[in-house]
Symmetry: D2
Subunit: 258 residues, 4 copies
């Protein structure tokens, strides 16, 4: 299965501004970048650096005035799919060292506050079924409502409000998993079927010794997503972080299965 | 300059519990572990894994009943000291990729909320002097008061309360630096002169292309500290994280210059 | 039914301090003060003022050094008891003006954040049965655990933690009711059977045109409580508010049915 | 000095909805309602009740479909003006009972968290000058920026962000005053010179035995404002509270000095 991706960004910076971009499908074993092409406004400075945990790359630029980006790619997803229900939870004492940061609380995922809730609600479910129970609980109790959350909305806020967008759903899923001692992180992805079309965010949980994508919004399937980057939460995978004011003129993301 | 370190931990676990420990001076270029010896209650499971950003190690155990740890070490600190006042701030677009996670907000350091304050208060100060101004502002405005903060206290809480302990001071320092576009992280350290003697936490900021320890409590000097680990904030450097109930019987930390 | 009440407070103030006290059973129609006697350390200043919504009194003092209070009273409770299940919810447009403040969010009861949750969980239940469903939900999902909450703990914190003491239970009950458009306030009370014996706090909801006490901890019965005061939340009914440092030497509350 | 006031509200309710309105200048000694006229869409139910602390009135309605309000009034302000700098702070133990609720923390004004800050920043200033110092500190450190705050923004958020609108300024002013033991409340007012023209919110502090309006935004003068209502914070003085969805078609407020 391949995805045909097209991203167009058009932003305006009134003064010279440092910007971190991350909008390209990552070159990682689970997905083959069949073709990729980026056109970008020439900038004073342009560097690529490895992104969080070396999945994908960030582009560091310094820009003054208009920034246009046109990114086109075809990505073949060859992720090994497994039924989470049949996978085991790896107990903390057997975890690989590099997964431990994903057990710990982060800006939007204060897992330390959710231990009683998670124990009460999901304590009786064992193994990967616990993760599926969490995903279904979120799907059952939350409504997808754009505009009710912003860049300061945490999983705690969303848990109470029961409304949000993909990143809010993912933050609650991640928070629940960590509170149960299961490493969980965010993945920013390209996925077909996202409505309205946009960058998408889902959770990724560590079960049976490997990472597995879980989308509590139900909009995307594990086998159909191309990863852009991963991180502890949305703070780590923003497609554009500006150290100064940025004005969006327009932005579009299209993802098709081919 | 060498430090003679002695840590004794005595904890009780009522049922089999997974525990992550991190209490040893890290083997890193800036400090030579001249001698080190750990005695620990035999446990069902014992693994060492690299800790955050591969500085130091975490020990993963599974324990039932009493856990006693006796750690003795002599560490020679050979950190290159530089005057922060003379160092440059590296603009975000020139940062090494691995420092970028330390620009982003974390559990206890919501730097995204402090940009106006930091611009208003420290915007006029350039270079490393900005970091020193932040450190001095914290030292001037805060009181070191044990017991007013807990494991949920963020830099925002401390900023308003103006009271806290070493980790609270470090969180505010880190938050200020990140809000100004300067990478900053927490370092858990052994330091002489800490009153009462305990594990200590300080900030580490990225200036002039390297990391520099800054202690806004004023209790420890950059050249006298042995690092245990580093992380985005205190969530990453706890000396003991238990996945279940832990009861402390006793705990002591002693650090002497020799 | 009468209650025999004995309160002893022993506090220390290192410097002259303004203090607001509210520890006496209120003289209101639903309870007859059969006898009452207060002995208190002589103070520089002593005034009685009506308390919140004129239920009970606050004592305003200025004190330097030791403050001892000995309060003994016998109170006959003659509250009219009604089965909440049979009462109607008064819709907001028909509410008496003086109840409206108890519909609005307060320091510890951010009802504005709970509308979706309350609609989803209790939206299908009508009338006073909705209040009983809320009370039972709290009783089922929360654990009474002293020490996990403090003077900054809100209903939002407790809702997530699912642990707390009487005031936390009451705050969640009040928040749920207000989010459903039902006026609700806190009542500080004397009640027999509270374990450990102490001042107690419960919710009071406006159903069928009158106020009804509801205790989600299950420790106290509506007909057995003597009210000290009422308010929007615990901020309004503290038994001691000091404008400066107060040190508790000892404090005891005993309540017996006679 | 008189104010000529014209308010037009045009809202839409998709289903029968209970609504609380408060948009009229209050009939209180400090201002004479020379003329007042309200035209409103006929509603299923219409009642007037006294508002918070009996200042002004709330209108309770039940409405289905379009709600149009046209309110015109001329109000002569005859408030006695005094120079706050010359007034005394009334110590808590000498306060009238009805002012005490305004000492206590509320939804948007968590004064309990600001005692150290207020003591450190304003502790040395005595009497009414303390209030003026607070007002000037806010004016100096904050920027008036619409759109950065919403209905959940507390004084704590605004204190850190240093940006907001009139209600945010008022909340911080109220919080500071209460943290210093000075009763303070919010006043919703009509004031000329507000840009853009709208309902305005200011603080009112209790000094020298009476209430005095203080506007930290600097947009309105004490002698030129007509009060609509007062309350513990913005939760108590909303001009429209709907128990269901409300859609604003248009809204205008004009206030002229005549």
């Amino acid at each position: 299965m391949s995805l045909k991706i097209h991203v167009e960004l058009d932003y305006w910076f009134e003064q010279p501004t440092d910007v971190i971009l991350q909008f390209e499908a990552a070159a990682i074993p689970e997905q083959v970048i069949e073709s990729a092409h980026v056109e970008m406004t020439p900038t004073e400075h342009f560097t690529r650096v490895a992104s969080h945990d070396t999945v994908g790359e960030r582009i560091l630029i310094r820009i003054d005035g208009r920034l246009q980006v046109d990114y086109r790619a075809t990505v073949q997803v060859q992720r090994v799919l497994e039924d989470c229900l049949k996978l085991d939870v790896v107990p903390p004492h057997q975890l690989p060292g590099e997964t431990i940061q994903y057990l710990l609380p982060s800006r939007y995922c204060p897992a330390d506050q959710f231990q009683q809730f998670v124990e009460a609600e999901f304590g009786a479910v064992e193994g990967g079924a616990k993760v599926i129970a969490m995903r279904d609980w979120i799907a059952d109790h939350f409504s997808y409502v754009p505009g009710v959350s912003d860049s300061e909305t945490t999983a705690l806020d969303t848990f109470v409000k029961r409304q949000g967008i993909c990143r809010d759903y993912a933050h609650v899923m991640i928070t629940f998993a960590r509170a149960a001692g299961i490493p969980a992180r965010i993945a920013s992805v390209f996925a077909p079927g996202v409505e309205p079309p946009d960058f998408h965010a889902v959770a990724e949980v560590f079960l049976g010794g490997a990472w597995h994508l879980v989308d509590p919004t139900g909009m995307a399937q594990e086998g159909d997503m191309a990863k852009i980057g991963i991180g502890r939460d949305a703070a780590d995978v923003a497609f554009l972080t500006a150290f100064g004011n940025a004005v969006m003129n327009s932005q579009s993301v299209s993802v098709e299965m081919v």
